[in-house]
Amino acid sequence: MKLGLTKAAVLLAVLLPLAFNVLVDAQRGGRGVPAAPPTPRAAAPFDLAGQWVSLITEDWRQRQFTPAKGDYVPLPLSPAARKIADSWDPAKDEAAGEQCKAYGAAGLMRLPTRIRIAWEDDTTLKLEADAGTQTRTFYFGAPQGSGGDWQGVSSATWDAPRAPFAGRGGGPSSGGSLKVVTTRMKPGYLRKNGVPYGTNAVLTEYFDRFDVPGGDSLLVVTSELVDTENLMTPYWTSQQFKRENGTTGWNPTPCSAR
């Protein structure tokens, strides 16, 4: 009998918090005054705004300089993509007015560049790059625009790990990443030497801020490019940017095909 009571108490202890959450959720979402969800801007787990400079510490030669034609190791290119890369002709791109092929969303963040990030409104982030004088726009909620240009259409969410029991569907824990999914890009180059990505490529990026104790603030952009036409496997890279105080160094330049 005593044992039975103990078991019941344990069960109650386990179930009560769940019941509380259900009731609290019901009250918030139903009979009570609904709490307005914070805007994406207000919900930001970290501050992205400001000027950031790229730190070219990986694939240094291929990023600081335009590699030679055919230098595409270790990109997981399909045979079709290799053929395109092997026929790269920057003069042809210039003649076609397509000097910006390496400045599309899938290639831009790996170029030596400064970027400026700012909230355009409570649901829209704008990212400008001085390399090629490009602008990317990240929309929280429904993506806007039809794409077809170098930067495509980008939809953004705050991506936080879900904690159990924090709400009926699980709630966000502290922290999180900015997740940006970009589609409908105009076909461009992953590298300036003509390594292609296609119109159906999907670029998923995670922006994380890392404040190094006693030092710099870093923005780390982890990106996955899925392009079944040109890539045998998803292409993962991560790029680092260092926060700058002020606007020194901002140097918008036109695209260059070379």
Binding site: V53, T57, D59, W60, R61, P76, P164, S174, G175, D208
Partner: protein, 612 residues
């Protein structure tokens, strides 16, 4: 009613265990995604490809001097990767949590890397980092905490090694590593930030990508044993290139049609400004980057002073019943047991009372023996006080006591009032010549190459190292504990004091360092095993000794080459022959400067030309 009460409370995120629950689970099998830097991480990096590394002058010169055939030397063959490079290595990774059994509190996160069997432990229980005199390891000492959805890790106490594999880009033992680990579904991003005041002008930031594997890939080991790779080489041979003579320094730039300076300019190579900078670099300026810049004073050490300077004596357990005492100048070693304490060196002597008190906390037996590695004051300054505080109960009634020449030592006939002090006879001679008080002078001396004693259950050997720092240096080896006390033959803090006037020489010093290396056995992947207590600095193993030996050999070779070319001492100094080591060991003021080290090497080579 219940709901009304609850609605007024902020929703809490329950935790399943006491303490901080990880906001993200990093556990599992992970494989590196090699879409960046594949050439470097696979076949290996190219000579003089230092682009994207914020190397200062010392770092660049260290790399240019490096000859990758150095790994053919026995003591370099099985070296593991340093923590920052370990995270870029090929092979499988496994991450798991260690939790306290009864509370399930998170104690540590472990990372096992297949390549070099790299086992990193990230302590999550709030423990402090060890003091500056604690040993260094390839993976260092790591503590972590969760910040938002990231695991943030700080690592200190790493060894000297490679920041980049294969082409000599160095990382010093003064470097610290700060990392974040962020998981995005089945992808893990690890950012490494290396701060190294010795070789870098600003932090080096890289990121490593991993994808999660659903099953155990099954390959976790990386067997390595060193052996003879090239026979009949002299023991004082270390492969390296003279400054400005790296024959392949221009290959990388030529192969990819880049300006020579492009990968040699240090910090600016990381930034968009590189292109503009390269437009202003002349060919002549690029050439100057291949050797030390002229007209500069030697740089000074950027390392942390491992001395506590807090007025206290600190005890660091070395192994078994052997302890290192830090705080009174030179390091002191104490061995305890059921017999009296065996003490090696006695420090400066300014804090002897505290040294004695510290020894009293380790044993209730008297100080029975004191061995001196040298006559130098940082190691014998406490002889009189520690000797007077001890006694040697093995001597009363001894046949030898009757024979001891009363008046020579002043204490040998009253062993219950004094510890027995032993050293090579040249220590006795030089201390007596310097007018040291009788009670401070070792009376139990040896003349030949070896003195031995079994004490406190260990075989203790003293090995004479003729003409190293002086003509009376000894190594003291505790064989069972496997601890070697090196005295000033080896330090982690400064260029070696080669006291030429007291019989020291650069060749003797190199031989002494090699003698240490002949006696060491590493435990795993080039580290651990035999401990080496330096005269000054942190507790070391053979890796620190071999790096130090390399340094002395390399500097000797440079000076020797200049002497053979007819250079004067002033010209040798102007050539900045220690430029790649100055930010580790350089000192421009005080009792032992970089210039004095160069002079000592120069004069000992002039006196007796180096032999190979």
């Amino acid at each position: 009613m219940l709901c009304v009460t609850l609605s007024g409370q902020a929703p809490q995120i329950p935790t399943a265990t006491p303490g901080q629950a990880p906001p993200v689970d990093l556990s599992g099998y992970w494989s590196p995604v090699l879409h960046e830097d594949l050439t470097e991480r696979g076949p290996g990096s190219e000579i003089a490809d230092y682009g994207g590394f914020p190397l200062n002058e010392a770092g660049r010169l260290w790399a240019l001097s490096y000859d990758s055939s150095r790994v053919t030397l026995r003591h370099h063959q099985c070296e593991a990767y340093l923590a920052p490079y370990q995270m870029r290595a090929l092979g499988n990774f496994r991450i798991w949590e260690e939790r306290e059994e009864h509370t399930q509190r998170l104690l540590a996160i472990h990372i096992w890397a297949q390549t070099t069997e790299g086992h990193r432990i990230i302590w999550m229980d709030g423990r402090p980092h060890p003091p500056a005199w604690a040993p260094h390891t390839f993976r260092g000492f790591s503590t972590g905490r969760f910040v938002g959805n990231a695991l943030v890790v700080r690592t200190t106490h790493m060894k000297n090694g490679a920041l980049r594999r294969g082409n000599g880009v160095p990382q010093s033992d003064q470097a610290t590593l700060t990392e974040s680990f962020v998981r995005h579904d089945d992808h893990l991003t690890n950012v490494t930030v290396v701060t190294d005041p010795v070789f870098l002008s600003e932090p080096m930031v890289r990121s490593n990508d991993f994808s999660r594997q659903p099953v155990d890939p099954g390959a976790w080991l990386y067997a390595c044993d060193d052996g003879e790779q090239i026979l009949d080489r002299p023991k004082d041979y270390v492969p390296h290139y003279m400054f400005g003579k790296q024959p392949f320094a221009r290959e990388f730039a030529a192969r990819y049609k880049l300006p020579l300076a492009s990968s040699l300019l240090g910090g600016v190579t990381m930034y968009p400004e590189l292109a503009a900078r390269l437009r202003t670099v002349t060919n002549a300026e690029a050439d100057t980057l291949l050797a030390p810049l002229g007209g500069r004073s030697p740089e000074t050490s950027k390392g942390v002073d491992p001395e506590p300077h807090d007025g206290n004596i600190h005890i660091w357990p070395v192994r078994d019943n052997v302890y290192m005492l830090v705080g009174d100048g030179g390091n002191i070693v104490v061995q305890t047991g059921d017999q009296g304490a065996f003490v090696v060196d006695t420090g400066e002597g300014t804090m002897s009372e505290k040294v004695i008190a510290a020894i009293r906390t380790l044993t209730n037996q008297p100080i029975q023996f004191i061995a001196n590695t040298t006559f130098r004051r940082e190691h014998t300054g406490g002889n009189a006080a520690l000797g007077a505080a001890g006694q040697d109960p093995s001597l009363p009634g001894s046949f030898f006591l009757v024979q001891s020449p009363r008046g020579v030592t002043g204490f040998f006939d009253d062993p219950l009032k004094h510890a027995t002090m032993m050293a090579h006879v040249n220590v006795q001679v030089r201390m007596q010549a310097a007018g040291a008080p009788a009670g401070a002078v070792p009376a139990d001396t040896y003349l030949d190459d070896r003195r031995r004693k079994f004490h406190n259950g260990d075989a203790i050997e003293l090995f004479h190292q003729p003409n190293a720092v002086t003509d009376g240096d000894s190594l003291v080896h505790f064989r069972r504990a496997d601890v070697i006390v090196a005295g000033d033959i080896f330090t982690t803090t400064q260029f070696p004091v080669i006291d030429v006037k007291s019989g020291g020489s650069v060749q003797g010093l190199i031989a002494a360092l090699n003698d240490i290396l002949e006696r060491t056995v590493y435990r795993h992947q080039g580290e651990g095993g035999t401990y080496i207590v330096p005269g000054h600095g942190y507790l070391a193993d053979e890796h620190e000794v071999v790096e130090y030996r390399d340094m002395v050999v390399i500097v000797r070779d440079r000076i020797k080459a200049l002497i053979e070319a007819g250079a004067t001492l002033q010209q040798v100094k102007a050539a900045r022959v220690t430029a790649d080591y100055d930010t580790q060991f350089g000192v421009n003021t005080g009792p032992w400067t970089t210039d004095m080290f160069i002079e000592a090497v120069y004069s000992s080579l002039k006196a007796a030309p180096a032999k190979r």
